[in-house]
């Protein structure tokens, strides 16, 4: 399984990779903005994407739209500090598979990830 982690914070990217590292995941790529994420996704079609929203160059919701244009079945878990209900609903309406609010802990992340895989 290929995982793409998209966040402008390298600390967050490494934390997500550590928390999700398991036998299921065979390959991990990281991107620090939406533009890089779209480029990587179009090349490698990752099975699951974790996606921040507030990022330079291209924000996460625009990135989500572009990834879903490439593959409408892409599984995208939004992980964002934006804690308002409207943003979460907007992300889900656009096609995100799930939404987690930062700060997150490893258990929450693993649970959301497993839900995503079983969906």
């Amino acid at each position: 399984m290929k995982l793409l982690i998209v966040d402008d914070s390298s600390v967050v990217r490494r934390a997500i990779e550590r928390d999700l590292s398991s036998g299921e995941i065979t390959e991990v790529d990281q991107a620090e903005n939406g533009e890089e994420a779209v480029r990587l996704y179009s090349l490698k079609r990752h099975d699951v994407i974790t996606l921040d929203i507030t990022m330079p160059k291209m924000d996460g919701l625009t990135c989500l739209d572009k990834i879903l244009q490439i593959n409408p079945a892409a599984r995208v878990l939004i992980i964002s500090a934006l804690r308002d209900r409207a943003t979460a609903i907007d992300a889900i309406k656009r096609g995100a598979s799930g939404f987690l609010c930062k700060p997150i802990n490893a258990d929450e992340l693993r649970e959301a990830f497993q839900l995503l895989l079983s969906d």
Partner: protein, 148 residues
């Protein structure tokens, strides 16, 4: 910004530090108001705010506190980049979480991270600057909220 709004940011700070280590309480000392944005410690993450409010939210602290958080995250900083990055991420998380109360029109930028006390940043000059002193594991930090 009303005085009671500062409680929103205090709640966000409590939530953040509780997520890092529930057994290490965050001590909030009484907030106060200054006539300009300060004080600054070693590392400061700055988020500019627009939309429903205009101004900045800053998180400033020293490297020791940031290193302790990185250790809790099992992240070993090999260089200064991780420390800088974390200062910005904390500022981003506290500001973004405030949208739970202020709504989606409380617009936040990506963080700018500065070091030390001598730097140029276009802080607003006509807003009240709230200073919230934080103490976590005997390490000091300040949450600076300056919103029109």
């Amino acid at each position: 910004m009303k005085d009671e709004d500062i409680q929103v940011f205090i709640t966000c700070a409590r939530r953040y530090f509780h997520s890092i280590d529930p057994s290490s309480p965050l001590v909030i000392e009484p907030p106060f108001v200054k006539n300009r944005v300060e004080p600054f410690l070693e590392y400061t993450g700055i988020i500019s705010i627009s939309g429903r409010a205009r101004g900045v939210v800053c998180f400033t602290t020293n490297s020791d506190l940031l290193r302790q958080i990185l250790a809790e995250l099992h992240d070993e900083p090999k260089d200064e980049n991780a420390i800088r990055d974390l200062a910005g991420e904390i500022a981003n998380t506290l500001s973004g979480n405030a949208r739970e109360e202020f709504g989606k029109n409380f617009l936040i930028t990506v963080p700018v991270v500065v070091t030390g006390q001598n730097f140029d940043f276009p802080f607003p000059d006509n807003a009240r600057n709230y200073v919230v002193p934080l103490v976590w594991r005997n390490q000091h930090a300040y949450l600076l909220v300056c919103l029109e």
